[in-house]
């Protein structure tokens, strides 16, 4: 059944080839954009997965629970924020990490804060944003996003509910097994 999962990307490749046949220039542009996204992916995603594997094998659950778990309070919130902000790479890189966090007993709202911080307050990207759009733009966006991420984490946790959260954590644990 493994090969079946590759039907979708092969179909997509066929569409791109068809566009190539119709309009060579558009096809070329499309491939060059795909190429640069692919390079971005390779520049961070493989080491992230290896770090995750190492974290899963070496760091015991109790240690993570202590710093990021149910009882971790403000320290856990700040740490989740910093971990997300220190990241680089596209948002989909955050999801596998979130899964291992859930498996290791990280508080659910902290997982959401981590994902939120990863999505929009990444420190390396912030430097780049300042350079392109100016300090005013970047700082104001950051100032609005920090409380926004916390608020969204609380809202999402409420909406999802305890039962669904448990189901999601169980599912996440089975993925990263």
């Amino acid at each position: 059944m493994k090969a079946k999962r590759y039907v979708f990307p092969l179909l997509m490749a066929a569409v791109v080839s068809a566009v190539f046949a119709v309009d060579n220039q558009v096809g070329r542009n499309a491939l060059s954009i795909t190429g640069s996204s692919f390079l971005e992916m390779l520049s961070v995603i493989p080491p992230i997965f290896i770090l995750l594997g190492l974290l899963d094998v070496w760091i015991p659950r109790e240690k993570i629970t202590k710093h990021l778990g149910e009882e971790s309070g403000i320290k856990g919130i700040s740490l989740s924020f910093l971990l997300g902000a220190a990241a680089a790479g596209p948002l989909y890189g955050a999801f596998p990490i979130a899964a291992v966090f859930m498996k290791k007993g990280v508080k659910f709202s902290n997982v959401l804060i981590f994902v939120g911080a990863w999505s929009t307050t990444k420190i390396p990207m912030f430097m780049f944003e300042m350079g392109s759009l100016g300090a005013g733009f970047a700082l104001l966006r950051l100032a609005i996003n920090i409380p926004g991420i916390l608020l969204m984490a609380i809202i999402l946790e409420r909406i999802t509910g305890k039962e669904s959260i448990d189901a999601i954590c169980a599912q996440a644990a089975s993925i990263s097994e």
């Binding site: 997509m12 990207m125 759009l133 733009f137 104001l140 993925i175």
Partner: protein
């Protein structure tokens, strides 16, 4: 980006060596897990990257600048948020692009909305996110992030506009 990537590869490599010295068995286990998780999202990832490349190649920058102009109103906001939500553009491409669009006459609220939805909302990455968060939370997270992006853009438009 490249510096960061060198740093992360270097750290990963060093930790891997330390792990290998400490326990060969555990290190192999870690690598096996790493590969399995990576392979788990690879097919979706390839399809997504191909799709986004095509989408962006079909949109041209002059048209976008016009559509997102200062006076483009509700339509401009709608387009900015939809394009930002659907596409997946690396930050080091997105920020210079946004700066270029601003110079070509796009409005600050529209650009802030585009940047914010681009980073927080992921329509094309839905199949990947769903695997980890389930369908319900994935939908809710994206909808909430979409709404929040309008707040960010509104505030930024008022302060900087």
């Amino acid at each position: 980006m490249t510096v960061y990537s060198i740093v992360i590869y270097f750290i990963t490599g060093s930790l891997l060596v330390i792990s290998l010295i400490a326990s060969r068995k555990k290190t192999l286990m870690a690598l096996e897990k790493a590969w399995r998780s990576f392979e788990g999202i690879l097919p979706e990832l390839i399809a997504i990257l191909l799709f986004v490349g095509l989408l962006i190649a079909l949109l041209n920058p002059e048209t976008i600048s016009q559509l997102l102009g200062e006076s483009s109103g509700v339509w401009g906001l709608l387009i900015a948020s939809v394009v930002g939500s659907i596409t997946l553009i690396p930050g080091f491409v997105a920020f210079p692009t946004a700066a270029m669009l601003l110079n070509n006459g796009a409005g600050i609220t529209q650009i802030a909305l585009f940047i914010s939805t681009l980073m927080m909302v992921g329509v094309v990455t839905f199949p990947v996110e769903k695997k980890y968060f389930g369908t319900k939370l994935t939908i809710v997270r994206n909808v909430v992030a979409f709404g929040f992006s309008f707040i960010v853009a509104g505030l930024m438009g008022v302060v900087l506009g």
